[in-house]
């Protein structure tokens, strides 16, 4: 099957129902405000180390989240806060992990890049670029082995798409027809190196073609487009036809990590994206067109602000892990 670069078919009415639009808006705003707060706490020294913000890319996780079913698994890189919130992990638990406190998902032992939730089938949070692609393929192998009907969503950036294990994974998933949805979040820059300077392949959506994996290039700033594409791709995976690849054309507004001065791109490029392509503003405009009134947005803004404020307070006041935590969780059964 070839790569389909056409826009998703919206001839049969609006791409998203009112309910879906509301949910997507709420989730995108939560991710946005959560990340802004995380940036602020980092500035205050409450969050340490590496911290990679998701701001700008919200439509990708929100759209895929709409298409996911209970039991579906997901895994991503170190730019992971958005995936975690959409997977249903609590803002409190994620924020407290960022501040390295006992109330965090890993009791403060993982940090921003290493967080997991067995309950929400979220498998991290990986600090090694590309490693999550092979591991994520294994999540799908479990589904095939147990025939549990789940799809595994494997997120990685366009930077990771140059790693050899990505193609080893494509080969394995195609050979064994694993229910694996690969999602390239192409935000144009792998740290400071633009896609033009890092990839000889100019159309990443075609990168899985040699293995016969069907794919699609998607406007990753448009949550409706993401949802439509993800829904079709996941139906493909779930029906036993094997893996699918989606390339999301997206953009991060902030630097690679908190300490990135982002001198490799013009400020005007960021401003232009924010002004014309912002995923939250785009959806809001669409929702207003569908008659959703201002009071909805105000309420959501207030709710989200309250959630994030509560998460930040929890993350600042949750005690640091006890020194005894040093020695726990190294091995099972000890």
């Amino acid at each position: 099957m070839g790569s389909m670069t056409d826009a998703p078919n919206r001839q049969n009415g609006p791409a998203l129902s009112r309910e879906e639009m509301e949910r997507a808006y709420r989730e995108m705003l939560l991710v946005r405000r959560f990340e802004e707060k995380a940036g602020q706490l980092y500035g205050m020294g409450l969050i340490g180390g590496f911290c990679h913000l998701y701001i700008g890319q919200e439509a990708v996780v929100a759209g895929i989240g709409l298409a996911m079913k209970k039991g579906d698994r997901s895994i991503t890189s170190y730019r992971d806060h958005g995936q975690m919130l959409v997977a249903g992990m609590t803002a409190r638990g994620v924020m407290a992990e960022l501040t390295g406190r006992s109330g965090g998902y890993s009791h403060g032992k993982g940090g921003s890049m290493h967080m997991f939730s067995k309950e929400q089938e979220f498998y991290g949070g990986h600090g090694i670029v590309g490693a999550q692609v092979a591991i994520g393929t294994g999540l799908a192998l479990t589904s095939a082995y147990k025939n549990d009907g789940a799809v595994s969503i494997v997120y990685f950036g366009e930077g990771a798409s140059n790693q050899g294990q990505v193609y080893e994974s494509f080969n394995l998933a195609a050979l064994h027809k694993l229910p694996c949805l690969y999602v390239i979040e192409n935000n144009r820059y792998g740290m400071g190196t633009s896609i033009e300077r890092s990839s000889a392949s100019k159309d990443l959506s075609k990168n899985a073609a040699p293995w016969g994996i069907p794919s699609r290039k998607v406007d990753g700033m448009d949550v409706a487009a993401v949802y439509q594409a993800a829904k079709e791709a996941m139906e493909h995976c779930r029906s036993g036809k094997g893996p699918f690849l989606l390339e999301m054309e997206t953009y991060r507004y902030r630097g690679h990590s908190m300490s990135d001065p982002a001198k490799y791109r013009q400020r005007s490029e960021v401003d232009e994206m924010r002004r014309t392509r912002d995923p939250i503003e785009t959806l809001k405009a669409e929702m207003i067109k569908h008659g959703i009134d201002e009071s909805f947005f105000k309420t959501v803004e207030q709710d989200v602000k309250a959630t994030v404020k509560d998460a930040a307070e929890f993350a600042e006041t949750s005690p640091e892990p006890d020194a005894s935590e040093l020695w726990t969780d190294v091995l099972v059964g000890e």
Binding site: G43, G124, A134, G138, M258, A262, V332
Partner: protein
């Protein structure tokens, strides 16, 4: 309400910086995401963005100021319509640094950290009774078959494990019994299939990964260490990774440097892994069964030369060995020889030679490299007062270094001679038959090391 804008930390190590330039002026309206100032850190000039909407009410630190500590108020943000005098009500003293609090809370350790020690004497191994002679190869195959019959979630994957019946015929017959869903041939793609197997283990099944030789595990070492060993810790105990990485380790016969290396020291170094290194058929069967049942990642270091060797092995269907417990293969009172894998046989040969010279050597078969059975080693040293470690791998930071250190740390007063190491030569293993022979430990080297301890 007026709120202070604080000097931000803009890198993991930043403590202070220079306020290079104010991009916004007092009285300007700012929106989230807008650049309000430029801050110079030791590494770069960073743009500082506003996080809240408001009016820049008062600038407290003028541009060009150096050494501004993180968390110092640098300006006051007002809500729209609020008077600049609202800034006066703010407490603009320097904020306490949260990082300082972190350090304060760390209790002083009671003592300097030590290498892990074990208590293993309370592990009682049952008498397994009747034995039969089988090869190590058969023992490994029987172990996998027994565990696959016992647990549906256990499966084997690797290169040539299914249709070819195993590159070294270890998986012979498994495809016929269990089918291709549970005995999976892999393409030559260690990095990919090891990562995949780790993902499968994390999500509820129990893979056995066969490396055609452990040398190829280097292609996948990131997944063994970063993905398998560390995930339980990094997840605060939520995730577990029940997986076995197995394959022939160390020198075979004239296969050259890239195919002849011992990984004992490499993997034994890693917290979050267990590492076993069987010598006999009983070791192989008992330890591999234990590795498959263990809820943690376990590396099983086999040996190609031993595959075809026959040893008596208990026939009991339930036969299994505990991970972490060494075995005394020969008792003696004069010197302790500690070895693992194929070197156990070499140490036993050395013990024979020493006996002819009137020296009774005790030979410990480590069986497990991590966790190391320090208790059995120390108990023996306290009896013999001398210790020589024997390994095929290189000397620098090897298993022998660890054993000698343990002896010095825990039994210094009992030692009558400095601990000694017998190792493979510190060179890539050569191909030529004579050179290869010269590079690997032999009984005579052990005898010499022991005689030296007796002052010869």
């Amino acid at each position: 309400m007026a709120s202070p804008i604080l000097m931000p930390a803009l890198s993991p190590t930043m403590e202070e910086g220079t306020l290079a330039r104010w991009v916004k002026k007092e009285g300007d309206v700012v929106k989230p995401g807008e650049v309000i100032a430029e801050i110079e850190t030791d590494k770069a000039t960073m743009e500082m963005e506003a996080v809240e909407e408001g009016v820049l009410g008062r600038i407290l630190i003028t541009e060009g100021t150096d050494h501004v500590a993180v968390n110092t108020p640098i300006a006051v943000l007002l809500e729209e319509g609020e008077d600049a005098s609202a800034a006066d009500a703010l407490d603009l003293g320097p904020k306490t640094e949260p990082t300082a609090k972190v350090e304060k809370n760390i209790p002083a350790p009671a003592s300097a950290p030590q290498a892990p020690t074990s208590t293993t004497t309370d592990i009682v191994e049952p008498e397994w009774g009747e034995t039969a002679e089988i090869t190590v190869r058969e023992a490994l195959r029987d172990a996998m078959a027994a565990e696959m019959r016992r647990d549906e979630d256990v499966f084997l994957l690797g290169e040539e494990v299914a249709q070819y019946q195993g590159a070294y015929k270890v998986s012979q017959g498994l495809l016929d019994e269990f089918g291709d869903k549970r005995v999976m041939d892999m393409p030559i793609t260690e990095h990919g299939f090891t990562g995949m197997a780790v993902g499968a283990a994390l999500s509820g099944v129990k893979p056995i990964v066969e490396f055609m030789t452990m040398n190829f595990s280097l292609q996948a070492v990131d997944h063994i260490i970063n993905s398998a060993a560390k995930t339980r810790y990094m997840s605060g105990g939520q995730m577990s990774c029940p997986i076995v990485f197995r394959g022939p380790n160390g020198a075979a016969a004239r296969v050259g440097a890239q195919h002849s290396q011992c990984f004992g020291s490499w993997y034994a170094h890693i917290p979050g892994l267990k590492v076993v290194a069987p010598w006999s058929a009983a070791d192989a069967k008992g330890l591999l069964r234990a590795a498959i049942r263990d809820p943690n990642p376990v590396v099983v270091l086999e040996n190609e030369i031993l595959y075809g060797k026959k040893f008596p092995c208990p026939v009991d269907e339930d036969f299994i060995l505990p991970i972490g417990k060494a075995k005394i293969e020969r008792e003696g009172k004069d010197v302790t020889l500690v070895a693992f894998s194929i070197m156990v046989g070499v140490a036993l040969e050395a013990a024979e030679l020493l006996a002819e010279q009137g020296i009774e050597a005790e030979v410990i078969n480590l069986r497990t490299l991590r966790p190391l059975d320090t208790e059995t080693i120390i108990k023996s040293v306290k009896k013999t007062s001398r210790i020589v470690s024997v390994e095929e791998g290189w000397p620098v930071a090897g298993i022998g270094s660890e054993i000698c250190t343990v002896a010095v740390e825990q039994a210094f007063d009992w030692l009558d001679a400095p601990p000694a190491r017998v190792c493979g030569l510190d060179i890539p293993l050569p191909y030529a038959a004579n050179l290869e022979k010269l590079a690997l430990p032999k009984p005579e080297w052990i005898v010499e090391a022991v005689r030296k301890q007796f002052g010869d």
